[in-house]
Symmetry: C2
Subunit: 159 residues, 2 copies
DNA sequence: CGGCATCCTTAGGGATACTG
DNA sequence: CAGTATCCCTAAGGATGCCG
């Protein structure tokens, strides 16, 4: 009962949306699977091949991501073959796109020797796409223009 | 020589900036440490307490993040105390902010029961800040407006 | 060929005790 | 208070082999 991954105490860690998100996509392989799903992969073999993950890990991740509602399975059948599953992003899964784009961006900037094989563009307009911080008034926000406001009412005190 | 973490083959995985980024912030604890650094923590005990991580893990992560240039150590000395280290975000570390904000956002939207204790606002303007996808022409870009362009020249074939 | 079961190695992380 | 050292358990993931 000792062991890992249960945060020790945690009114802080608990209910933190970032930590909660990392509980879903907790590992590198999940990100890689999602990346390929964004890039258009749908079949088991594509995921395994393009991510470089082993088949067992690929299978485990696909199931977990489907179970968490980020991917949905869609049975398909090629003539003369048995029924197989295609995996497609759900809205919930696709909503992680800003995270992935932001990760890629950071790598492009700071990790020498890493360069995405895919460029993301705005359809039609053709301009490259980046993840940016914006305020609700649409101002671009840089790191030093941030203000942190601690929320009051530590939940269940909403009078 | 078997074992983990060396991607099996990987012209795909290799040089992917997202994977490269995840090689730096590969684990949950690294994200948690960075979160607290963004929230203003600088001292060892703050990190350990606010993240809920054990001291050994906190120490390991702080060292790794400093070694990777995301945090810098700054010796300080309180009167009558020995010299201690403060840990502050570097520009490289602060540049991960969009990733963290995007993760938080996703959790806020999709993970019921998770709600950040801190709201991020634009200083002065006061409006809440979100991570968004924008193209270079400043159009907001939604998931279905994306176009993927495979880069030509698989490195070292630039002519 | 797609997919799972088994096995083994390594990395992540808590508990506890200890040091300066 | 600011960490280290040790110990032990769990999660991640590759290799291999099996099965429909």
């Amino acid at each position: 009962m000792a062991g890992a991954l249960e945060p020790r105490e945690g009114w802080v860690a608990e209910h933190c949306p970032m930590a909660a998100t990392l509980d879903i996509v907790r590992n590198r392989s999940a990100f890689l699977i999602l990346r390929e799903a964004f890039y258009g992969a749908t079949r088991f073999e594509e995921f395994a091949e393009l991510t470089g993950l082993s088949e067992p890990v690929t299978a485990a991740r696909l199931h977990e991501l489907a179970g968490d509602g980020l991917l949905e399975r869609e049975p398909y059948r090629e003539p003369g073959q048995r029924t197989r599953q295609a995996y497609r992003l759900t809205e919930k899964g696709a909503d992680l796109l800003p995270v992935l784009v932001a990760l890629m961006q950071w790598g492009d900037r700071w990790q020498r020797d890493s360069r995405s094989r895919v460029e993301i563009r705005h359809r039609g307009c053709g301009a490259p796409v980046t993840a940016q911080l914006r305020c609700a008034h649409d101002h671009p926000v840089s790191g030093d223009e941030l203000e942190l406001a601690v929320r009051r009412g530590r939940r269940r005190t909403s009078p």
